[in-house]
Symmetry: C2
Subunit: 230 residues, 2 copies
């Protein structure tokens, strides 16, 4: 399980040297996007022999029978790299299905270290990391979204849990609007965008203070968190 960059150009910022060495030693890959996988491998090793490699692309709809076929080289002793389009594979991408089938076939799974916008946001938020939830993408419908945000807020006040969530970048400003209009003045919100890449911003403020200091989040990869100050 090989993490990739979150969109940044400098691999040494986010991928440990020995993870890079493992990744570029492989010749079999199961990836979310072949183009970005190749670009990542060449960024780590300009001489990386892409033509000697086998790449299989998977998405949400890839059937188990196809994945069984893709993991066959592991049964013959080859290591296979699983890569997501960005960040850690298996966390919010089809890589998890590969892990499940590997487990069934008794193939050893080795998760490697790399960047996760969830973890980085948690580290930079000042909120509790003893109890936290990541809820993925918010509901598309505005009423449902507001309901979800209010649920996170109420749960944070009740339990102290940290709630992390995100949305597609083109809806970020709608999410921000809902957070600032619908939540209590004193509720603490962390907003992180462009993590590990140029223009990184991460800040925790109360709803009241965010109203006067809002970032421009339009089209930027952004993670939100509601939590309790530690």
């Amino acid at each position: 399980m090989i993490p990739t960059t979150l969109g940044g150009e400098v691999v040494d910022d986010v991928i440990p040297a020995n993870v890079q060495a493992i990744a570029t030693s492989l010749r079999f890959f199961i990836v979310e996007n072949v183009k970005s996988a190749r670009r990542f491998l060449r960024k780590m090793d300009r001489e990386f022999p892409i033509d000697e490699c086998v790449f299989h692309e998977i998405n949400k709809k890839t059937e188990a029978s196809a994945i069984y076929h893709f993991i066959k080289p592991a049964l013959e002793g080859h290591n296979i790299g699983v890569m997501s389009d960005a960040g850690c594979p298996g966390v919010a991408d089809p890589g998890a299905a590969v892990v499940t089938l590997a487990n069934e076939k008794n193939i050893h799974v080795h998760p490697l270290v790399g960047p996760s916008s969830i973890l980085l946001t948690l580290m930079g938020s000042g909120f509790s990391g003893q109890n936290f939830s990541f809820s993925g993408y918010l509901p598309k419908d505005r009423k449902d979204r507001i309901r979800a945000l209010k649920h996170f807020e109420a749960d944070t006040y009740r339990t102290g849990n940290t709630h992390l969530f995100m949305d597609t970048p083109f809806r970020n400003m709608n999410v921000l609007e809902d957070l600032l209009n619908e939540l209590a003045d004193t509720t603490m919100i962390c907003i992180a965008n462009n993590l590990t890449i140029h223009g990184e911003q991460i800040r925790t403020l109360s709803v009241k203070d965010w109203r006067e200091n809002a970032f421009d989040l339009a089209k930027k990869p952004t993670m939100f968190a509601i939590g309790k100050k530690q």
Copy 2:
């Protein structure tokens, strides 16, 4: 926010080169444990000038007034490294309080990439990473622990959420016993121990299959997850 190893000896396995360069360029540190912080810095740079550095140790009981004092160099233009005893600072350690005070003083917080047993377990579990919760340490009392485990199980069946949790290493075998005795045969459990260090094991099996394949978890740093196969 500077991650450290999870106990492994090879820094290049888990810390990106540029994170190491940032860490060893600093001279002010706020750390959970001075001894292990110094050892980590020397592991990255054998010539690291420890005697030129200022280390402040913090724990759960450190008062805000002391932390204000520790972060003062940042107001004078110095960068300060925050390090946990192991893994990512600010996630389940007093580092979060430093972030909160830094935010209040308008000091920029920069979370850096490193190993997290939570994320690595999620990556290697084959469970959903779209919705997951980390609940920290389980309750000490056996009845409360079993209630928590059954709650995770029921929630996973109901929502598909992945539940990650841990316990102090000397109680690992009690947790395993409770998981295998109290949960349904078909419930899927991931157990990860010694992540990123010698003897790493990570495996996802049903309760029924775990009964015949249990690891020896005694005294090993271990993460547990209950989830739905993807």
